[in-house]
Amino acid sequence: MKKLLAILVAMVAFTFAAKAASYEINDASIDALVAEAEMVAPASADAAATAGLSSASADSKTIVAFVLDTVGLGAFGIHRLILGTRAINVLLYIITFGGIFGIIPLVDWIMLLLDIVEGTASYIGNPSFIMWL
């Protein structure tokens, strides 16, 4: 009986501990995740984008931008660099944590898809932060 009671108390204590632990995060694991990630710098991204694609066609740029947005780099505004835009817009994607928490890259993705399907290249060189407005 005592053993059963002890087990019950341990289970309850474990449940509480597990629930309480969910309110805190392991900072060391986050630091490790950050350390392992590859740095994407706006300047280097700009140089890579313009060096490789300056002579590409508008349709090619739209497709590349769409692919970059698909793989998650839209949050950094990299797809806008490919399409050609002001550097400030790329920084705004970053400081708004992925373009207003990811909403703008998501809509960008849809609009780029439509562009590809329709064969138009509507967003090349768009200087606006929100290119589809």
Binding site: I25, G102, P127
Partner: protein
Amino acid sequence: MVDNSNRAALSGRPLFLLAVLCMLQLSAGVCSAQRLVRADVQTTQVTAGKKTVVNKNVFCRNDGTFVSHYKSSGGEFYIVSSRLGVTKVYAPATNEAMTDTQGLFSPKDELLYIFTTGGSQDLGLSEYGFRLKDTKKDGTYIVRNYVATKSGSKCERVEIAYKEFLPVFAAYYDKKDKVITKTYFSQYSKSGTFAFPMRVTEVTYGKEKNDSTVKLDVYSNLKVDVDDPMFHYDVPSTARMAQPGKKK
């Protein structure tokens, strides 16, 4: 009948009351003094194994004035929000500025702004129409649930956990009660009556498994009620104005 001892006591009473009133006036003056809070912030966002790092200095007054100064290898710019709700973004390199009246760059999502303007207990949720639904105790934590009162909100419920009366965790749930984002507040710094988490980790969950974004804000150089010219920064009047989202 008033004797000499009572007379002495009575004659001292007005002086005592005067002293108390003076102290109350002084303390009221101190309490109504404008709160100034500044900090340096390093924001690291990790998505799909890649990360960006943005450094900024933020300056906040409890009347709602908020200035952010961003510096990166890509450039430098300022975001200035007035207490009237108008935000201006300014890039010194090109002398360009744009005015935002749609709330795209509102400081209401900035944690320092929330804490400075008295929103630390509900993390500013009341500004977005959330109301407190229930409170419960979970071990050493107090847990509160807030629900949305406005329709059309992506977030339906917010759970906030407090430890020693300070928010340490917040989880945001959608209409299907699926978690959207979890935020962890830690390493609180206390300056007088102002407590602020110097490390904030935000995990946003994507639709696919292992498809989450981690954003880490590390604050430093936190100063409270120390004036700085940046608290009064404004966009130069000679800046060329542009509208966000204006068609080409």
